[in-house]
């Protein structure tokens, strides 16, 4: 087992660096006047070639691509830092700020998804081909065709009318970083301070969690239904019934465990989809997490300038590392939960 884990980790790290090399090479293929990020250029500006070269030097883009890549890797290995991005300043600070937001969206959303999908899926499977099953199935077909933007838009409108939850924004669950100071004599309403506390945090996250859960709910409900139906027909369930176990006990102990296990793999594999939902959700509710960071690599003020290569490489690195770790953990846990697939 430890050898297996070590081999997986090693191959994962190799892949990670292969990926960052590819992204560096790919992005440097387009000639881009990187100096223009720091100093104005184009028609109507008076930037000289020397100023442009100085800007290039400041960004480090006057060196060859292998040297730039080596510096990037050295920064990670030696200092554990991604260095500075071209447009937005320190990458470490940005990631440290964005990670808690995205983690709370994903974790809370996944928990809510489970709380909704498991009862619905089981109910639908137990009452297969009855009316309630048909209703759940037809709603799920419609639900698959609902864009997360649409769900988010309606939820936001709804909360805008009812004021049950805040429409947008994020609250730090524990302690908030200091906000911008209010100048003396200014209206404090123009300088919103970051809020903190577990309850405001949860209050702000209700809509994002709901959006996340509703987006994945149809798919997961149907998946759970199919798994439960398959498991209900296995021999060990018949045996448990023959033994006289109550229907609830059969469901809880003999059906749910084997039926839900493959979902762990699903979740490990679905990180990409979940992060995509996070991009949508963070944009709708203006949370400012990883999703917003991903959008900022080219869009916004980046579009006219090109892209922010160090930021892209750092994001690829962080997400890739997380994906490798998550899949490894899921596989190891899987073997622990289900002795039939235990690894040598």
């Amino acid at each position: 087992m430890p050898r297996y884990a070590a081999r997986r980790l090693l191959s994962g790290v190799l892949l990670l660096f292969a990926m960052t090399i590819t992204s560096f090479a790919l992005f440097r293929l387009i000639p881009l006047p990187t100096g223009c990020i720091l100093v104005g250029c184009g028609p109507g500006t008076t930037t000289t070639d020397e100023e442009l070269a100085a800007a290039d030097h400041e960004l480090g883009t006057d060196r060859s691509v292998p040297v730039q890549y080596a510096k990037f890797v050295w920064g990670i290995v030696r200092h554990g830092s991604f260095g500075a991005s071209w447009v937005h300043g320190s990458i470490d600070a940005q990631i440290r700020q964005a990670a808690p937001v995205t983690i709370s969206v994903l974790l809370g959303g996944a928990v809510l998804l489970f709380l909704l999908a498991v009862p619905l899926g089981v109910l639908s499977a137990v009452r297969a081909q009855e009316r309630i099953d048909r209703i759940i199935l037809s709603i799920s077909v419609v639900g698959i065709a609902l864009h997360p933007f649409l769900i988010g838009f309606f939820l936001r409108k709804f909360s805008g009318y009812t004021h049950v939850t805040p429409e947008t924004g994020y609250c730090h669950p524990f302690s908030a970083p200091p906000g911008q100071p209010v100048p003396p004599g200014a209206d404090p309403a123009f300088f919103p301070q970051p809020c903190s506390g577990l309850r405001p945090w949860a209050h702000h996250m209700i809509l994002p969690w709901l959006t996340f859960a509703l987006f994945f709910l149809p798919l997961y409900t149907r998946m759970i239904r199919a798994r439960v139906l398959d498991t209900l027909e296995t021999q060990h369930v018949t045996a448990a019934r023959a033994k006289g176990a109550s229907e609830f006990r059969v469901l809880r102990s003999h059906v749910l465990r084997p039926a839900l296990l493959p979902l762990a793999t699903m979740i490990g594999m679905d990180l990409g989809g979940a992060l995509m939902a996070a991009i949508y959700i963070e944009t709708i509710y203006r949370l400012g997490g990883f999703g917003s960071l991903m959008l900022s690599v080219v869009s916004g003020n980046g579009v006219s300038l090109g892209y922010d290569l160090p930021l892209i490489a750092a994001l690829f690195f962080v997400i890739g590392a997380f994906a490798i770790l998550l899949n490894l953990v899921v596989d190891l846990l899987y073997g622990w939960f289900d002795p039939r697939v235990r690894l040598a």
């Binding site: 199935l137 065709a145 864009h147 594999m269 989809g273 869009s299 892209y307 690829f316």
Partner: protein
Amino acid sequence: MPPRGYWELVWRRFKTDRVAVASGIFLAVVLLACFGGEPLAERLLGHGPNDIFPMAADIDQNLLPAGPWSHVPNTHGVITVTPETPRTLFILGADGTLGHDVFLRLLAGGRTTLELALGASILAITLGLLIGLLSGYFGGWIDAVFQRLTELIMGFPILLFLIALGWTLSQRLNAITFGGTLAPGVLSLILVIGVFSCFYPGRLVRSQVLSLREQEFVEAARMIGGSDFRIMRKHLLPYVSGTLIVYATQLMAVTVFLEAGLSILGVGIELPDASWGNMISTNYGTLLNPGGPHASADSQFLHLTYLITVWPSLLLFLTVVSVTLFGEGIRNAVDPRARRT
């Protein structure tokens, strides 16, 4: 009477599923309208989806675009507009200050979106088939490499690749439109979506091939001297084709969604070319750049033009629903014992 072939049986089972047949017909109508009907409608109406009609926005009413079924002065090639200027019909009205024809844009946008969906699905299925066959059949290091790569790539939101790589690629590929068949930017989106979604069908094929390759008929084929390539093509491919077709329909639905998401975020198909995604964002603007042409106008105004957003949203929704139902019908027909998931 010859025995019924595999696909004939599939067709017989599919025919009995009324919902699936209905959604198949709907899809056929949409495809026909977008690919065949759009040029026809352009010819009949006498203007194109990207043509600008300033007179379609009412100057007296804060540039309110013309409503459905209105006749707009055809200002093309006309210097001074008089009451006698020939008029041209806008079936669903105009879409804002520029006065594009919403009806034609709906069809042209559908073409862009469906080209993207079809292209990306076909590419992903082909690549996935290749990966799955190779890594399932040969196993060993090929399999190990593909497995790790799959895990890594699937951890990423495809949107990140689309935003970062799509932009990079589109700088080089925008010029390639295959003689105007594809809108600028579609090719790079097809490539990125196709390449990065091939891993999931790859996994599906791999798991099927893994169980198939140990079966007697494969062994028999190998024993009489069938080459690896022949075994894959003749004995394994027919088994996995059903699953792949089903997955292709799912992927089409996902891609239609993705295009809409990209355009709503403001990084998708660029104006003036229409797509359902960027049509949805004409009224309210994109999320990164909120506020369309009428953002400053009062909300009462948006109530008058909400249909501009409703049409593409409705078509998008119906298309995704019917693609999903159609795929489900095929799944049941291909594998009648399988559970509906």
